[in-house]
């Protein structure tokens, strides 16, 4: 049972609260748009989490989607769900971004970036990221304490690998290896849980 609230992206499409806010924005109340952004920002970030290739920033993509959504609000149909409509806008932005990144990466001979932009585009329509994150959180909670501590240092505290190694009295190489193996372990764990949930 995930302990994060189901994000708006996976909720039922009918969203009267958002529709009321859209009506206020269209009536000229720009401040109501702040409420809309706050309401849909977490789920949009989750959707973008596994889809942004290197060089495409989630913040920037989310901002572009919200700005475009604002400018195109007249095209929004109440009752259709603001969240899926917003995702559609973000998806279009991502497609353009993949192409731009691939072109720039190939020109600069950045092989890895080009490869990952291609892989990210192929994964664009995979199952919703919002379903992946609760499983990932469960897998994190199942990690032994010393491995969870490594992840927390790297991602929560934002420590560099060298800092983690220094704090724990380990070699940099050992910390790199641990981080790599933990990520792979988490991938396998999420996949296992997803399969268990689908059967």
């Amino acid at each position: 049972m995930p302990h994060t609230e189901p994000p708006a992206m996976t909720a039922a499409p009918v969203d009267p609260g958002s529709d009321a806010l859209v009506a206020r924005v269209i009536a000229g109340d720009r401040d109501a748009y702040e409420a809309l952004v706050r309401r849909h920002e977490p789920a949009l970030r989750q959707w973008l989490a596994g889809r942004c290739p290197p060089g495409a920033d989630e913040n920037e993509m989310a901002q572009r989607a919200f700005v475009d959504a604002y400018l195109g609000l007249a095209r929004y149909r109440p009752g259709g769900g603001f969240a899926p409509w917003l995702i559609g806008i973000a998806r279009n932005h991502l497609r353009l971004e993949y192409r731009r990144l691939r072109t720039a990466a190939e020109r600069a001979q950045r092989f890895v970036t080009a490869q990952l932009a291609t892989a990210a585009e192929a994964a664009l329509d995979e199952p919703d990221e919002a379903l992946e994150l609760p499983l990932l959180r469960q897998c994190l909670d199942e990690l032994p304490a010393h491995l969870r501590d490594l992840i927390d240092r790297r991602y929560v505290a934002g420590e560099r690998v060298e800092e983690v190694a220094g704090a724990l009295g380990r070699s940099v190489g050992a910390i790199k290896k641990h981080l790599f193996l933990i990520r792979r372990r988490l991938l396998e764990c999420v996949q296992r849980k997803r399969l268990a949930g689908s059967t």
Partner: protein, 473 residues
């Protein structure tokens, strides 16, 4: 290619994806072994997910930058609703050009509509500036009427039917808990007056002037900070997350710094004891607990054991309590990790213990992942545990779960300990009481147990608060 070399190249690049040299080193590895590309893509996605999950962005920052970008742009085109269909203003103009000439009655109706619209615009233009704007939530005026247009003029008195968010003209925000009652800009120099309930203010730093909120007991004035104000039963408690808050009552004032709490009542203003909590594993926990947090917020996972029978296995986050006191917390989530844990007796809540030994006498008020809320107690050391579950899951969620989020309160008065539950932290329901022979000093705090040894569970807590001596500062 050695595995270690690939790992080193991946980790170097993940840390510095913008670094061309790191990318070139990784590219060389990938060209030598192209099948690794799929693995790298999966690891990159996992890396980004971990960032989003564990280092979430500052809430509201994106809204600020979106609005800043929109500040120089025109508003969205007006949409007209007609018979369930909508057309944009530009579509309507195109349609009008192709339409036949209108009849006089229709022209008069159009003129009347134009005049009404012009009048409305004129009224809007002369409307005084709002003292606050409702960004989210259901706020009502004292007569129960909803807030028109989401704008609160100075002097408005409102009640929050749901959690609500307000923004003040300087960009400061105030989050109201459901049930809170607030007056906006009730007097010059005051942003608001909290009449009842709880709010959390995030105050934008200012060049001059102060952001001040009053209650009946005192005034909290700040200069760029984040704090929570809680008013109930003739007492106001301020909990400061960042910055400083000055708590004033008449001529008396105290400074409350980040991480500290202060209180005001008819007795005056006082700094509350510093929140220092200890974490202790009680009994044999398998898996062991992973504990993160401090002060009012805690996250516990692992905790494979049970609270029952003659001895406990649990993780206990605790402080000493001398004499009477009230312990409160919001249980934000309880997560049993597998279906094997059905029927979801994983427990998270508040406990009073006579010591830290597994068999110690204790009383706990608990939320479970799927079995409702209740109180259980062991009257004497090594005795049996008794319990009562007056709020089972099937009364509140139709047999479903999870039961969290919810508020719990444990009150000690003499030898009687009472457990209560609330869905909003304001209206409480008594779940049960136990009478034990207690020493003057007991240990009180948070407790989590999965119910099943070998299987982990996780729980998240917010707003942990201990008020000693019956709740007086």
């Amino acid at each position: 290619m050695s595995q270690d070399a690939f790992i080193a190249a991946v980790e170097d690049w993940l840390e510095h994806p913008e670094d061309a040299a790191a990318e070139a080193a990784l590219a060389a590895r990938l060209r030598a072994e192209p099948t690794r590309a799929t693995e790298l893509a999966a690891l990159w996605r996992q890396h980004r997910r971990l960032h989003v999950l564990l280092a979430p962005a500052d809430p509201g920052a994106l809204a600020g930058s979106v609005l800043a970008e929109l500040a120089g742009r025109s508003r969205p085109r007006i949409a007209f609703a007609s018979g369930g269909r909508q057309r944009s203003a530009s579509t309507r103009r195109v349609a009008a050009r192709g339409a036949p000439a209108r009849s006089w009655p229709r022209r008069l109706a159009a003129l009347a509509a134009f005049l009404l619209a012009a009048l409305g615009l004129a009224m809007l233009a002369t409307e005084p500036e709002s003292a606050a704007i409702v960004l989210d939530g259901d706020l009502r005026r004292s007569d129960g009427a909803p807030i028109a247009g989401g704008r609160l003029p100075a002097g408005s008195a409102v009640s929050a039917l749901t959690p609500a968010l307000l923004r003040f003209p300087d960009g400061s925000t105030v989050a109201l808990a459901a049930g809170a009652r607030l007056a906006v800009q009730p007097a010059a120099g005051l942003a608001a007056r909290l009449d009842d309930g709880r709010l959390t203010a995030t105050v934008t730093p200012r060049g001059s002037g102060r952001f001040a909120i009053a209650t009946a007991e005192g005034v909290a004035s700040v200069l760029g900070t984040r704090f929570t104000l809680d008013r109930a039963a003739g007492r106001t408690v301020v909990t400061v997350d960042e910055g400083h808050v000055r708590l004033t009552q008449g001529a008396t004032a105290i400074e409350v710094a980040g991480g500290e709490r202060g209180a005001a009542s008819v007795a005056g203003v006082a700094r509350l004891p510093h929140d220092t909590w200890h974490s202790t594993t009680i009994g044999d926990l398998r898996p062991a607990a992973v504990v993160r947090g401090a002060g009012p917020r805690w996250s516990l996972s692992g905790c494979g054991g049970d609270l029952y029978a003659n001895a406990d296995q649990c993780q206990f986050i605790w402080r000493d309590l001398d004499g009477d006191g009230v312990l409160t917390v919001r249980v934000a989530a309880i997560t049993p990790t597998t279906e094997k844990m059905q029927p979801f007796w994983s427990k998270a809540g508040l406990m009073l213990r006579c010591g830290l030994r597994p068999e110690a006498a204790n009383v706990a008020v608990l939320l479970t992942a799927g079995q409702g809320a209740g109180v259980q107690w062991r009257s004497v050391a090594s005795g049996e545990t008794a319990d009562t579950w007056p709020l089972p899951a099937n009364q509140r969620y139709g047999g479903g779960g999870p039961f969290a989020p919810g508020w719990l309160r444990l009150t000690r008065r003499g030898d009687e300990i009472t457990g209560e539950h609330s869905s909003d932290g304001l209206r409480w329901r008594r779940l049960g009481s136990a009478r034990l022979t207690l020493p003057h000093r007991v240990q009180v705090g948070l407790v989590v147990a999965s119910h099943l040894a070998g299987l982990p569970t996780a729980a998240e807590f917010e707003h942990l608060d201990l008020l000693p001596h019956g709740g007086q500062p």
